[in-house]
Symmetry: C2
Subunit: 245 residues, 2 copies
DNA sequence: CGGATCGTTGAGTTGTATCAAGACGGGTGG
DNA sequence: CCACCCGTCTTGATACAACTCAACGATCCG
């Protein structure tokens, strides 16, 4: 099931969307990939760059962010292992955002040429990768409606729900507990609030008995309650089977 | 230049990304398309639907929206003629948002099967369509950073800049003037603000000499000033050549 | 010439930002 | 192994952007 090569994570994920043939799996496994380790808080690609490769996140968390003219940062996406954070650069030559590590990370870089080849040979893999980028877009829409129309308390609950589901998909949740190596400042930049306010919101969530946190470990104490607080419906994640308990 | 068939709009747009061969253009022109007229404020597809076709917007404006549990609406995208508002449904079976007309519209519906066929035959068309969805995603990211990190005044200016550039791409701007058949309530739902506040922001923009509006006609009086106010950099639209004056 | 939709205004309220300072905690070097 | 330090978390006080409510004016249209 879980392939042993680094590409295994990607194969497993794409396969979970629509089952791939052996031949397709082997083609994926043969993709050239250059492994690299990153420390936390390092840019991987920057706005304006013209990357010639995309990366597969193997370990750790990354984020996509933009900086406004006033110097404020908005994090528009988080990535968990198995994600391909800058797959978009395959068809959008110039990066319109920056990509950075949030925690120490292991990344696998795949040349665009290899991906073009793969797509030309296997239309179903094209479809699977295309679909990946469409799910990313769906998450953007959901975050946008949260930032635009939900209050900080609900947005925070929503994000925690999403992280739980996404991490669960790659086996990184145990008993509703998972590692979330994200500072409150980063959380604030993601939900479009100030650090101070996020701090208070988290206290509220704890006081309401929805979550508990110890260091970077987050435990969801009341999944139903948290989903309700976050107005969370996993439809937008387009899972093949609902990956929640 | 401008093809005479309804598909001409799409051909012209895709061609402007990377030039298509005659054969590819003809394949696009042969796409079966069912034309339909819609009144303003009508749903085209709803969240939860499983459409078997995608539509090409020929005339008018559409928007994508979501409703929160509290009944608040967030518009996450506007579309102008030439756009394919629900292209995503080609690979995401269930709609995670609703699509509606904003003004009276003419739409051309294309069966998914025809698009699959086309993509299987012409990898470059696949790439062009994929790219379209990636640009949509890029616009989501930009809107999100606006809603999260810019004030309503700046967001409004930003949206006007974007509409100007996008409408200009399809020849719907003359002398910095264009038709924007969007109510202030819709504008508010798009930038994540209240109607009242949008009204006041628009007055400010007028008072600052940046725009003028008469009915649904918007004139940009100070393009440089508006871009500055909106912190607008068209990079995220991924135009092949900057389509601004 | 109603009637409905959309735009405009004023007044009061609130979510959230900002500023400032202190507490905690984990790593590093002496 | 302690002392220090830096990043992160926490708290309080104040300020403001934006929301809500409510009403009125302007248009358009049948």
């Amino acid at each position: 099931m879980m392939a042993q090569s680094p590409n295994g994570l990607m194969i497993r994920k794409l396969d979970s969307i629509f089952p791939l043939s052996d031949e397709e799996e082997q083609a994926l496994a043969r993709l050239p990939m250059q492994i690299a380790a990153y420390k936390a808080d390092q840019d991987i690609v920057r706005i304006g760059d013209r990357p010639s490769q995309s990366c597969l996140l193997l370990e750790g968390f990354t984020c996509v962010y933009k900086i406004t003219a006033e110097g404020k940062r908005q994090i528009v996406a988080f990535h968990v292992p198995g994600d391909i954070p800058d797959l978009q650069s395959l068809h959008l030559k110039v990066m319109d955002n920056s990509l950075a590590t949030v925690s120490p990370c292991t990344l696998g870089f795949i040349p665009h040429e290899a991906l073009y080849d793969l797509c030309n040979r296997y239309p179903r893999i094209t479809a699977a990768l295309w679909r990946e980028t469409l799910v990313d877009a769906s998450i953007f829409r959901e975050w946008m409606t949260g930032i635009g129309r939900r209050e900080a308390y609900n947005r925070t609950a929503h994000l925690l729900c999403e992280m739980r589901v996404r991490l669960n998909m790659v086996g990184l949740v145990e008993d509703g507990t998972f590692d979330l190596p994200i500072t409150q400042t980063e959380l604030a930049d993601a939900i479009g609030a100030s650090t101070v306010h996020v701090n208070r919101v988290l206290q509220e969530l704890r006081a309401d008995g929805l979550i508990r946190s110890r260091g970077t470990q987050v435990s969801i104490l009341d999944w139903k309650g948290l989903k309700e607080a976050g107005d969370f419906d996993p439809l937008y994640l387009h899972l093949r089977q609902e990956g929640n308990a």
